[in-house]
């Protein structure tokens, strides 16, 4: 997104630590979320992403460190006084209230005039195309509909920051895709800072302006989706985001920016770690950056498996040393490759990364 936002960050975490007993859920986290951005915390379960979200919301208090929202220190301010609202994975709609009353709830606790409560709640429901369902009860709606209502309820009060805790986790694939588009569209229109938590890397890549990949209570890499995918800074990032070929290799000569490694009987120039010569390293390469080159000079593999994905073909080759290399190739018609074919494989060297094994 263009950077026309004020310099004030929406959320600022400074040296935040959260311990539960002896378990450290969030470990000295420093994080600045810009105003108006779609920010995602991505990671496997137990990586600390949800705890971080709950710390920002105020459901948990940090063991150490400071949390600032729009420049104001909120570390000691209870959840109900913070200018953030949350969309919960479980939706958490109040079962005893109608849909309209659910959405009007944040306005009712602020004691706004009844007419204004109704009007604004109605407008929020219209925004998520749920205007017709105002007098139903939550139990009468489908999961997707409840999700929309939860979104309207969290947005009706115009929070500075909207927190979303795996909000699409319980939806089926088609609905999920739809809601992803709507979420992104809504975030652009309203200009509210979205802080999104998910374990789904594809969802993170689709939606986010920036992604913080987390592991063990720390941020592994904070980057744009494109950088995170194209230039992972660690083996963990390379493996977590998308599919990656990990090829055992040996360092030949180390140099900043372009080291030389030996793998599969060939030498390659690549970016990455500068381990000493002779060290065992791992070469990472995206499957769509491997090409079948019938006239090439690359290492030869034998096709052992074909997975038909639809838009793509996923081809698994067994190399001379027994390792496997996966190739993703667009399903663009023509004669399909056949099991057993022997084919030289070309690696696009600009996408090769070296990591210490």
């Amino acid at each position: 997104m263009q950077d026309n936002s004020p310099a004030q960050p929406a959320v600022d975490l400074r040296g935040v630590v959260k311990r539960f007993g002896t378990m450290t859920a969030v470990d000295h986290l420093d994080l600045t979320i810009r105003s108006g951005e779609f920010f995602t915390m991505l990671g496997a379960s137990g990586c600390g992403k949800t705890t971080t979200l709950r710390l920002i919301a105020g459901f948990e208090l940090p063991t150490e460190g400071q949390i600032l929202i729009s420049g104001q220190d909120v570390s000691d301010i209870p959840a109900y006084q913070r200018p953030v609202h949350t969309v919960f994975q479980s939706y958490a709609l109040f079962p005893h209230l109608t849909i309209l009353d659910n959405v009007a709830f944040p306005l009712r606790v602020r004691r706004l005039p009844r007419a204004e409560q109704r009007a604004r709640a109605m407008a929020a429901l219209e925004m998520v195309q749920m205007g017709r369902y105002g007098d139903r009860k939550p139990s009468q709606l489908s999961g997707g509909q409840q999700q929309r209502v939860a979104l309207a309820r969290a947005l009706v009060n115009e929070p500075t920051v909207l927190l979303l805790d795996e909000p699409l986790g319980a939806l089926d694939l088609k609905l999920r895709k739809e809601m992803q588009l709507e979420l992104k569209d809504m975030q652009r229109r309203l200009g509210i800072t979205f802080v999104f938590v998910t374990h789904d890397q594809e969802e993170a890549l689709t939606l986010s302006d920036r992604i913080a990949l987390m592991q063990g209570g720390r941020i592994v890499q904070l980057d744009t989706p494109a950088n995170l995918y194209n230039a992972p800074q660690s083996l963990y990032a390379a493996e977590f985001i998308g599919e990656t070929n990990l090829i055992p290799a040996r360092m030949v000569s180390a140099d900043h920016g372009s080291s030389v490694v030996e793998a599969l009987g060939q030498t390659y120039r690549a970016e990455g770690t500068t381990a000493s010569a002779g060290a065992a390293v791992t070469l990472a390469l995206r499957p769509e950056r491997v090409r079948r080159e019938p006239a090439g000079t690359g290492p030869v593999g034998e096709l052992v498996e074909i997975d038909f994905i639809g838009t793509d073909l996923r081809l698994t080759y067994r190399m001379a040393d027994g390792s496997k290399v996966i190739v993703r190739q667009q399903n663009s018609g023509g004669i399909p490759p056949a099991i057993g074919e022997r084919m030289p494989l070309g690696f696009e060297t600009d996408s090769l990364r070296i990591f210490t094994s």
Partner: protein, 274 residues
């Protein structure tokens, strides 16, 4: 597929045959006295065992008996008063016990359930001795306190069960949306507990209305409850007037039961399913 064995003669004769009869006899044993009681309320004569004809006279007579009407009045005041207090304390205690961490939490839970296992007679005597010692005149106050003691374990247990099954995340959500603790309690927790609170109130009121032991010890001059009145009437000889009174009490109880089942049971089942 599991092979299905044909039931043997033992199963056929005893389990299927006799169990049906036992069930029927059990129901007869439980319900027949009530049926007889209600039937003889309509007896024209003075006997409660010999049928002499149909009439509504005894019902009319009950309503003209100043003592009975006065006792009904007392019973209703004590029932409603003690049920209200027991339910209020029960609701607050239930929420505190299920939602808060505080020293002595388990002790409080146990203390509130204790009257359940203590013999009521012991509780009653203890209360009477205490009241006498403290110089408290027996009357509505002492009786309401006694009845609260009897019904508070039930009220607390019912509301505790409901409070424990509430979704804590809804309270998180309320706080997240700007509601302070009091607003969260009033607008989210309390409405969801209403079916349980209503059930606890009705059960407490019914327990109080039926109570004889505690009332015997704690009633004062002019605060004779209906069960006490009926008991003293029995000593003077039984007439169908008591049957008529009993029939009306049965009718009232059944009506309340149906009301509770019709109104709150579906609600409770529904809220538990979510």
């Amino acid at each position: 597929m599991t092979t299905r064995t044909h039931p043997g003669w033992f199963t056929r004769t005893f389990v299927h045959g006799i169990s049906g009869w036992v069930t029927l006899l059990t129901y007869l044993f439980m319900l027949l006295p009530i049926v007889v009681l209600v039937a003889f309320a309509f007896n024209a004569g003075k006997s409660t065992v010999v049928w002499t004809g149909f009439s509504f006279d005894w019902f009319v007579k009950v309503w003209h008996n100043r003592n009975i009407v006065k006792a009904l009045h007392v019973s209703l005041i004590v029932a409603v008063g003690s049920a209200a207090i027991a339910t209020a304390i029960g609701a607050l205690a239930a929420v505190a016990i299920t939602r808060r961490e505080f020293p002595g939490r388990d002790l409080l839970g146990a203390a509130l359930a204790a009257p359940l296992v203590l013999p009521e007679i012991v509780l009653s005597v203890a209360l009477l001795v205490f009241m006498t010692f403290a110089g408290i005149t027996l009357g509505y106050g002492s009786m309401i306190v006694g009845h609260v003691l009897v019904s508070i374990p039930f009220a607390t247990l019912i509301i505790r069960a409901a409070a424990a099954s509430l979704d804590v995340r809804l309270e998180d959500a309320a706080a997240d949306l700007g509601a302070n603790e009091w607003q969260t309690f009033r607008m989210v927790t309390l409405p969801q507990l209403m079916p349980a609170i209503a059930t606890a109130f009705i059960l407490s009121a019914t327990l109080s209305f039926d109570n004889l032991v505690m009332s015997t010890f704690t009633s004062g001059v002019g605060t004779t409850t209906l069960p006490l009145r009926i008991y003293s009437m029995l000593k003077l000889g039984i007439t169908p007037e008591i049957n008529a009174l009993g029939a009306m009490m049965v009718a009232a109880n059944v009506a309340i039961l149906l009301l509770v089942m019709g109104r709150y049971l579906p609600l409770m089942l529904k809220s538990n399913r979510r």
